[in-house]
């Protein structure tokens, strides 16, 4: 299981079937419709202080309009004031000229004031804004004025009056101003050119300001009207612009609430219309993604269920029977896979071993696997032939499997009493067997075609039962191709059978647990962090080495080399062939008596040797060969040799060699004769005789020379009375 990636399940240490990496759906992606508005609306968003675009645009436009109008007004006022001043000046000059023209004739009369006064009066009356209308004679006396009382009075402009600059005037004309009053002076000239006096026409400059002020007031009114219109126009325009935006906003809020079905309808040919179209496209995609997510969640929930079913079909505990320990390991691929394995006790005490790999993964593979498991449960008691069983499974599965899918399967039946394994394989990987004797790994390929590969019972012609024997210390490994086809993280190279074999060989002597751990460790190291692509399944059957210690006296430490001892016996010993016949067994006594170990010993110890070897041969004939008339057992008697490498062998030794089912010393217990039931039973004392009689018994089953047993008889056998009573 490990972090994401890996969940693995070891039957030895069952773990809860939790698969964190399979958490079906990330919580954030919970189905939107089911749990109301998700992320977008979870928790009311803080109500933000809104500054409406409407007002921003309105104020901006008003400010711009106002600034433009004011600028315009300022410029135009300046222009109009200049124009007004010029116009006023011209009028003053004109008046002054008129006065001077009229005054020219009047000045020649005796009483010029009589003409000039009404004239001045008339001018002043017509133009009340004029502050000054005077005609002054060359002496500086007033001769014409609207006010008759001033006539004759002296008149002079104060020094404060300065000529106005910047104007081209006719000769003699002057424009003067003291800052408050503007005065135009024109000389009164006779037709003959004589100067008769001066005409003054003056105007308060404040009049000018009044005129300008009036113009300004007018401009202000215009400004305000324009502004008002501008504001209205801006507001109207903004409303027009904002209408689609609020439609968009409403649409977004709908999406936020989880409504992905109502599109945003917006007839707008601006960019906002494009935005609405994009939004509708987005909600469509979102809707499809959401539906997909819901579907995927449903599927992965079902896959998780399937995986749980698959796990529940696998054995949870190692199986121990006699000297045998069966243990499996299964590491599931990320996707639910189709590997299956099981082991179970059969009614006759044998152990059934099954491992299968269903082609194809996912639900289909898982269902086939479940079916396989059920079929196996139904058939496993019906036949003791693995080939038969596989053929029966093929018949049942054949009709169900889709064309092109198949199942490779290994099935074996192990007898824990003899170590004999009968097996057949339907296209499964070769069986690997580690032999302690020689420390090598043997591979047993088979010819069967996979289950469901061909119809019509073709498989029966390819399947056959095979037999092999497991001796103490031997170890059997069967696996699925998830192991040897595991790729390295680059996906370039497979783990391969060679590495698998190394992993097995390096730890084979340490037992099933160690081998499982070693293989799994090696595969995980090979694949690195990448999750398994295929189920990785492994079954290990270990035959624990011969039981030593209390129950079997003086069982030899496994240092003898049985093959070499067979060679020594052939070179230096004497042979007796024993067959399953009482007469043949009866020949053991005379053979011992006449042999190299028959002399120099007392009668009792010779009798002990005879009965011990008799029991040994009898056992081998009965249990190893079923008393078959063709069975041949070899006994060798090797004379004492002071140079024997093993001190235990220097006094001479016996060797028995046969090719029957190997004898399992493991599990044997010495008989307790104090138990009346044991005495009444009256049988099964053969091993007691062998182990009490011999000073050393060393079993070497399944060597290249067959099953080899080595016995020595030392001092202890000579004095059996000295043995402590049980």
């Amino acid at each position: 299981m490990g972090a994401p990636a890996r969940a693995s399940h070891d039957v030895a240490t069952p773990e809860p079937p939790s698969r964190p990496e399979l958490a079906l759906v990330p919580p954030a992606a919970a189905p939107a419709r089911a749990t109301a508005p998700p992320t977008l609306a979870t928790g009311a968003p803080p109500r933000r202080a809104i500054v409406s675009i409407r007002w921003i645009v309105t104020f901006t436009s008003v400010a711009l309009i106002a600034a433009a109008v004011v600028a315009m007004a300022v410029v135009s006022e300046r222009n109009s004031r200049a124009a007004l001043t010029r116009e006023v000046e011209n009028r003053l000059l004109l008046q002054a000229h008129n006065l001077a023209l009229a005054g020219g004739d009047a000045m020649l009369s005796d009483f010029p004031e009589l003409t000039l006064h009404p004239l001045a009066l008339e001018i002043a009356a017509k133009q009340p804004e004029l502050a000054l209308v005077e005609v002054v004679d060359p002496d500086g006396k007033i001769v014409g004025d609207p006010d008759a009382r001033k006539i004759g009075a002296a008149f002079a402009l104060t020094d404060a009056f300065r000529p106005r600059l910047g104007r081209a005037l006719a000769a003699g004309d002057r424009l003067l101003s003291d800052g408050r009053t503007l005065v135009a002076t024109v000389p009164v000239v006779h037709r003959d050119g004589r100067r008769l006096g001066t005409a003054y026409v003056g105007l308060k400059l404040s009049y000018l300001d009044g005129v300008v002020l009036a113009a300004r007031r007018q401009a202000t009114i215009v400004l305000l009207i324009v502004l008002a219109l501008g504001v209205l126009a801006a507001l109207w325009m903004i409303s027009v612009v904002l209408r689609p935006i609020s439609a968009l906003r409403a649409g977004i809020e709908r999406i936020g609430r989880g409504d992905l079905t109502t599109p945003v309808t917006l007839r707008d040919r601006t960019e906002l219309g494009m935005l609405a179209d994009a939004m509708n496209g987005m909600t469509g995609a979102l809707r499809r993604a959401q539906a997909e997510l819901v579907e995927r969640e449903r599927l992965s929930r079902e896959l998780e269920l399937a995986r749980q079913i698959q796990e529940s079909l696998l054995p949870k505990q190692p199986h121990v029977a006699g000297a045998f320990r069966v243990q499996g390991s299964h590491r599931a691929a990320l996707e639910v896979g189709g590997d299956y394995y099981d082991y179970f006790a059969l009614p006759d005490g044998r152990i059934g071993l099954a491992i299968a790999d269903v082609s194809g993964k996912g639900l289909a593979g898982c269902m086939v696997m479940s079916m396989l498991s059920a079929l196996l449960r139904a058939y496993r008691r019906a036949t003791s032939s693995p080939a038969e069983l596989l053929a029966a499974l093929d018949e049942q599965l054949g009709g169900t499997l889709r064309t092109g899918s198949f199942v490779t399967m290994f099935y074996g039946i192990l007898d824990p009493r003899t170590g004999e394994l009968v097996y057949a394989s339907a296209g499964h990987n070769p069986l690997l067997v580690y032999r302690r004797d020689g420390g090598r790994l043997e591979s047993f390929p088979t010819r069967g075609i996979p289950l469901g590969a061909m119809r019509g019972g073709v498989i029966r012609r390819t399947l056959q039962d095979r037999t092999l024997r497991l001796a103490p210390g031997d170890l059997l490994v069967q696996y699925t191709d998830g192991i040897n086809e595991a790729f390295d993280p680059e996906g370039k190279e497979q783990f391969g059978v060679e590495r698998l074999e190394q992993a097995i060989t390096s730890t084979a002597t340490a037992g099933a647990d160690a081998v499982l751990a070693s293989v799994r460790g090696a595969v995980e190291a090979w694949t690195g962090d990448s999750p398994p692509q295929d189920d990785e399944t492994l079954i290990v059957v270990a035959c624990e080495a011969a039981v030593r210690g209390a129950s079997v006296p003086d069982a030899a430490p496994a240092t003898l080399d049985p093959v070499a001892l067979v060679a020594t016996a052939r070179a230096t010993g004497q042979r007796l062939q024993v067959v399953a016949d009482p007469a043949s067994l009866a020949a053991i006594g005379p053979w011992i008596e006449r042999g190299p170990l028959g002399s120099g010993r007392d009668r009792n110890s010779i009798e002990v040797m005879i009965v011990a070897l008799h029991e040994l041969c009898d056992n081998a004939l009965e249990h190893g060969h079923g008393n078959a008339p063709t069975a041949r057992i070899e006994l060798w008697c090797v004379p004492p040799s002071p140079v024997a490498t093993d001190a235990r062998l220097r006094g001479g030794w016996f060797l028995m060699r046969d090719h029957g089912k190997p004898f399992m010393a493991a599990g044997w217990r010495a008989t307790d004769f104090n138990d009346p039931n044991a005495r009444t039973r009256g049988r099964g004392f053969g091993l007691d005789i062998i182990h009490r009689g011999a000073s050393m018994v060393s079993y070497h089953p399944g060597t290249s020379e067959g099953n080899v047993t080595v016995l020595t008889f030392g001092e202890r056998a000579l004095n059996p009375n000295e043995e402590a009573r049980p």
Binding site: V611, H614, R679, R683, G684
Partner: protein
């Protein structure tokens, strides 16, 4: 080459039936012996087994003797093994079975150890 297995009747005696065993006491002959002993026991007689001429005894033979002894003990009759041959003696001593069997050195001693029936 060796003497074939057989069981002869010993001398008639009121105290016990006497059987003399000859030859190899292996699995086949052990059954034969056991049946013969069972027959004696069913008659309610004590039994003296003379094993002097037993040339070999296998584990099955020893087992038969042990089983017969138990059956006699259960039924209240007496069983005596008399004059053990070296082969029988060796195996009985090897397995420390003399504590479960009544062994006498001769047929006469065996009879003598039995009270008159």
């Amino acid at each position: 080459m060796t003497e074939p297995f057989r069981i002869d009747a010993g001398p008639a005696d009121p105290r016990a039936t006497c059987l003399r065993v000859f030859g190899r006491l292996d699995s086949a002959s052990a059954d034969q012996l056991a049946r013969r002993c069972a027959q004696v026991r069913s008659e309610g007689r004590n039994l003296v087994l003379n094993l002097e001429q037993v040339s070999f005894v296998a584990s099955s033979g020893v087992g038969a003797l042990l089983a017969v002894a138990e059956q006699f003990r259960d039924s209240g009759s007496e069983l005596r093994l008399a004059a053990l041959s070296p082969a029988v003696d060796s195996v009985i001593r090897l397995l420390n079975l003399d504590q479960f069997l009544e062994i006498q050195t001769s047929e006469d001693d065996a009879f003598a150890s039995l009270k008159a029936a």
